[in-house]
């Protein structure tokens, strides 16, 4: 539970949190607390996601959701770090990773904040496409707020350093990259919800894309076609 105090620090004293990262104060402890918090939060939300299909799917999603977040971060973090260095950053890799992990922690805590709503729809509707799109929307909102924190953090950490403006532009481009990698990673690790007519599978075969699938689900909900 002690690790969760970092969430209050991020949400209510974000400026102090970013300044502490900028000044290199207690960064390893912050990293550990954010890592642990985001894993616990993602495990809980993953279990909620998979519950619409089966117990096995709930367990599988509980394991896969933290992997999704952390793997996406691991893939995208070198790009941001080295581009920040290129534009004059003096941060260490630990400081840079702490900033990015702040975004993941905020995203994870917002997901759990949505969990009661998602559970409500899980218990009151059997519409798979609606449930899937609801979760896509929840992930989008939580993800955008998370990267907004990152952007704010970079702004504070980069103050008084050369190339601060260019680095803010780099962060905006990186956010786009993070979204693309994250959505493709989610597609590769699917299913998280699990189609009710299909048996449990740890992974589905690759094919199609995240965006095509969301578009097809949207079309079915609006009554344009039936998802095959």
């Amino acid at each position: 539970m002690k690790a969760l105090t970092v969430i209050e620090s991020i949400l209510r004293n974000r400026y102090q949190h970013f300044v502490a990262i900028r000044d290199g104060e207690d960064v390893p402890a912050k990293l550990r607390a954010m890592l642990l918090s985001s894993i616990v939060l993602a495990v809980i939300y993953g279990a909620v996601l998979g519950s619409s299909h089966s117990v096995l799917q709930a367990l599988s999603s509980a394991v896969k959701l933290p992997i999704l977040f952390l793997a996406t971060l691991a893939i995208c973090s070198p790009t941001l770090y080295f581009f920040q260095i290129l534009f004059g950053s003096r941060q260490t890799i630990g400081q840079s990773f702490a900033l990015m992990l702040t975004a993941v922690t905020v995203t994870a805590v917002l997901l759990v904040a949505f969990a009661p709503v998602v559970l409500f729809f899980l218990l009151t509707t059997a519409d798979y496409q609606l449930f899937k799109l609801l979760n896509v929307a929840v992930f989008a909102i939580a993800g955008f707020r998370g990267v907004a924190f990152l952007s704010e953090g970079i702004k504070i950490v980069a103050a008084n350093e050369q190339g601060a403006k260019a680095r803010r532009t780099v962060v905006r481009a990186w956010v786009l990259l993070y979204g693309l990698v994250g959505s493709q990673m989610a597609w590769a690790l699917r299913p998280f919800v699990g189609a009710p007519s299909l048996p449990f599978e740890l992974f589905r075969n690759l094919g199609g894309s995240f965006y095509a699938n969301v578009f097809a689900s949207l079309g079915e909900i609006l009554g344009f076609w039936t998802v095959h």
Binding site: M1, K2, L4, T5, I7, E8, L11, R12, N13, Y15, Q16, F18, V19, V40, L41, I44, Y45, A47, V48, S51, S52, H53, S54, V55, A58, V109, V112, A115, P116, L119, L122, L123, T124, T125, A126, D127, Y128, Q129, E152, K155, I156, A158, A159, N160, A164, A195, P196, S197, L198, T226, V227, H228
Partner: protein
């Protein structure tokens, strides 16, 4: 000599005051014009002796912008005291975890939990192996976007299919798919040289090997069954239809 002002002296004083007032008004108007039209810097301060009321329209100095995060002179606001948010998050996590566990516990004798107790729309995920049935008795299996008729119950069980996997759909939906080759099962018993194709509840004798091949059958499709069982199946039209009855048939 008297100290009392004469009427002539009083008139002179009035005239002087009027002149001073006129001069002040004119100067004031001139300042307003300069400030409004030319937007020139404010005039140098006048000596105290000649001060006039400051014109109201004189531009005020711009209000200083609050330093924003990222500005050089920005300092973070004082930290907000803790309100024990971590305890609230911890309790919420426990509650969500508890609800998630509860809704996954089977509550019916069929092992269905609350999370899946609502009638499922059972979205048709169209994929190879999907089983469809219309209003008739025919069951179809989807393979490579073509519906293949499973021609008999034996064929159905021979393929290891389950009735729970069969989706009842509208006939119009079945008609949207192209038809592929039917899925048959071929039966033979050890004491008879004849091979029969099972279609529905009838067996159809395949006249010879040439016909067998023309129909696209493979030898591994042939299943050996008890002769009694084979004899009990009604005989249908042979293949080809003009082949007549199989020799030595009952």
């Amino acid at each position: 000599m008297s100290d009392q002002p004469t009427p002539r002296n009083s008139r002179n004083v009035d005239e002087v005051l009027d002149l001073l007032l006129d001069a002040l008004l004119e100067r004031n108007a001139q300042r307003r014009r300069q400030a409004a039209a030319a937007k020139k810097p404010a005039p140098a301060p006048e000596p105290k002796t000649e001060t006039a009321p400051e014109p109201e329209s004189e531009p005020e100095p711009a209000a200083a912008r609050e330093p924003q995060p990222g500005d050089n002179n920005w300092t973070p606001p004082p930290p907000v005291p803790s309100m024990g948010l971590h305890r609230l998050i911890w309790r919420m996590l426990l509650a969500v975890a508890l609800v998630t566990i509860v809704i996954n516990i089977p509550v019916t004798r069929y092992g269905v939990s609350l999370a899946r107790i609502l009638p499922d729309k059972q979205q048709l995920v169209v994929r190879d192996g999907l089983l469809l049935k219309g209003s008739g008795p025919e069951v179809y299996r989807l393979e490579e976007n073509k519906l293949r008729w499973v021609s008999s119950l034996d064929a159905f069980y021979h393929l290891g299919l389950q009735w729970d996997d069969v989706h009842q759909v509208d006939d119009a939906y079945i008609d949207t798919f192209e038809r592929g080759e039917p899925i048959h099962v071929l039966l033979k018993c050890r004491t008879s040289p004849h091979i029969y194709r099972l279609e529905g509840d009838q067996k159809r004798w395949i006249k010879d090997i040439a016909t067998f091949r023309v129909e696209g059958h493979q030898w591994d499709e042939v299943r050996f069954v008890e002769c009694g069982y084979l004899d009990s199946i009604p005989l249908g039209t042979p293949i080809p239809a003009d082949a007549g009855l199989p020799p030595n048939s009952n």
